[in-house]
Amino acid sequence: MIRTHRLQGGIAAATLALVLTASGCSSGSGSQESSDDPIVIGVSLPLTGDFSEPGKGVERGYKAWAKIINAQGGLLGRKVELKILDDQSNADRVVSDYEQLIGRDEVDLVFGPFSTRLVVPSARVAEEYGMLFVEPAGAAPEVFTQGFENLFYAAPAVADDHYNHLAEYILAMPESERPRTVAYAAMDDPFAQGTAYGLKDKLEKGGIRTVADEVYPPNTTDFGNIAAKIADSGADMVVGGTQYQDGVNLIVALQQLDYQPKMAAFSTAPTEPEFAKAIGNKTEGILAPTGYTQKADYPSNKEFVEKYTEQFGEAPEEDEANAYTTGQVVAAAVEAAECASQDPDCQGKLVEWLRGNTVQTVVGPLKWDDKGRPQSAHMIQQWVDGEIQIVLPEAQQETGPVYPKPKW
C-alpha cells in the first residue's frame, strides 16, 4: 500500500516536471529593435497532411522572397528571417503555431498559412493580438465576412470573382451561340466551391440554366457516378470547382463517358504543369482562371521568375507567386510605416497604410476594400494547340478564345 502512494507521488512529480519544462523552455527572440537584429517573420504552413503539396509551394515562395529581399539589403536595413512551423494541415495546430510565434517566439511580423480552412482560425489569433495578417491563400468568401480588420488577401481576386472575365465573355455572346445549359461539379471546399458558384451566380443571372450541380467531398477518388450525371444532363458547358487531382479525375471520368461539351472550365488543375500528361494530353479547349502568369511583364515579376528559377530549378506557379506577393505587400507596408515589431502602434500603422494604398506586385498592382478583399480580377487561360495560353481579358490575351471547344 505504501508503494502505491509513493508511485502516485512520483506521477505527480513527473507531471510537474513535464509541465515546468514545457513552460520553462521558452526563448523569445527578443523584441528590442536594433539594426543588427533580424526582422523575424512567423509563418505556419501545412508541410504535411492534406494540404502539404500547395503548402510546400507557399513555403518556396516565402523562401524565395526572403532570399531576394535579403540580397537587396533586407527591410529597413535589417535582414529578414523566416520562422516556419508545420501545422500538419490541422486547424488546432495552426492556431497553436501562431500562439507560439506571437506569444512565445515574439516574432516581429506574421505571414498567413495556406488554405481557407486554416486561414480563418489563424487570422483570428493574429487579429486578437493586433497583428497585421497578409495571407496568400484564403480566397473563399467566408474569410472576409468574419469581421477581421487586419486581414489582406495577397492575390488579384477572391474566389467568387475568378471567372469574372469568362462570365462577361459568355454573356456578351449572341444568345443563339452561347451555351444554354451548364453542369457544375465542385469539391466541398470553400475555395473550390467559391470559384464554381461565383460563375454560377453570374450565368444564372444572365439566364443560363443550371442542369446539374454536384458537390463531392475532398476525399472522393471515384468520379464515375458524378461524371455519369453530368454526361446525362447533356449540358453545353461543364464547370468544375476543382483543386488538382480531383480535377484530373473528373475530366478523365467525363472522357471515359465520351461527353463532349461546348465549353469546359476547371479551376486550379489545368494550370498545373503535370496536367496535360495526367489526362493523356487530351486537353484541347479546357479553360481555367489564373491569378498569375510567369510571362506577366510587371517589373518585379521578371526578377522573381528569374531568381526563383535559379533557386529552385523550375519556374514559379500560382501558389509560389501568391506567397511572394504576400512578402511584397508586407514589405511595402513596413517600408512605408518604417517599423516592424509587435508594438500595437507599429502594427496599426502597417494596417492603416495598406488600407489606403496600392502595392505593386508580381501579380500586378493590388489594392483592397475595407474587408481585405483584393480588387483585381483573374485572367482566363485556355489550352490551345497543346499549350495553356491567356485568352481573356483581351488586353492581356496571347490568343483568342476557342469556342466551341474541340473534342477531347
Binding site: T48, G49, D50, S52, E53, D188, E214, V215, Y216, P217, N219, T220, T221, D222, G224, N225, I226, A228, K229, A231, D232, Y244, Q245, D246, V248, N249, V252, A253, Q255, Q256, L257, D258, K277, A278, I279, G280, K282
Partner: protein
Amino acid sequence: MPSASLVFQSVVLGVLLGGLYALLAAGLTLYFGVMRVVMIAHSAFLILAAYLAWYAHRETGIDPLLTLFVTVPLFFAAGVAMQRLLLTRLRPATLTMMSVLLTFSVALVIEGLLGYVFSGTQRRIRLGYSSSSIEFFGARVAVVKLIAFGMAALALLGLYVLMKHSRFGQALRATIQHREAAQLLGIDTDRIAGYGFGLGLATAAVGGTALSLDTTIYPSLHWHWIGPLMAIIVVGGLGSVPGAAIAAMTLGMLQSLLQLELSTTWAQTVFYVALFVTLAVRPQGFFGGRLAQRF
C-alpha cells in the same frame, strides 16, 4: 427523375464497385473467421499495394497488373508473419479488442511511412487506356473499371474454389466454423490461421492493384475504405464469406443508385445506416452464420 440510361449506367457502376468491395470484404472476413480479429489495417495494405503498383509503373513503366506477381506472394507472407509474430502475442481473453488496436497501429505506421516516402500528394497511374471505354447496352464502361472488376471477380472465384475444393480450404473452413473441433480432427489450426491471414492480405494486394488502375491514391485514403468494408462484413454476418460478398454487391449498388438523387457524401452514408440497422435489428447479420451471434 433520372433517365433510364442514367439508372442503367449507375447499376453498371454499382456492380463494378460492388465487385471490388466484395473481394476486399472477403479478406476482412477471413481474418475474422480464423482469428476473431477485426483487421483495421486491411485497407492500409490495400493502399500500400496500390502504391507499389503505381511506383513500379512510374519507375519502370510496366503494367501495374504485373506487380501482382510480386505483391500477392509478398502480402501473403506478410499476413502469415503478422499473424504468427504479432497477433499470437496477444492474450486470448482480450484478443478481439487488442487486435483492433494492434492492427490500427499497423495502419498508422503504413500511412505514416507512405506519407514519408511518397509524400501526401495524390497519385494516379497514367495508362494509355485510362480514358477509353466500351459500350455496354447503352452504358459506357471504362476499360480500367472493367479490368478492376475482372480481377476482383477472378480472385473471388479463386478463393471460392480454394475454399470449397482443396484440402487446405476444408481445413480453413473447419477452423473458421469451430476451432476446437478442427483441432480434434487433427488440423493444425495455428498454421491454418496463419495461412488464412495471409490469404486475406493477398486479397488486399489484388484489390489494391485493381484500385490503382482507376482512382487516385494518397496515404490517408485507407480511412475512406475501412468504414464501408467493416459495415459490409457486419451486414453480411461476421465470418461469412458469401454473406460479405452479397452484402458488398447490394450496398455497392445501393450507393451507386443513391448518388442519382443524393450528393456523393450522403450516398456514402448508406453503409453506416445499414450497419446500425443491422446491429439494432439483426446483430448476427443478414446473411451470416452462427459465428456472429457471440461477437
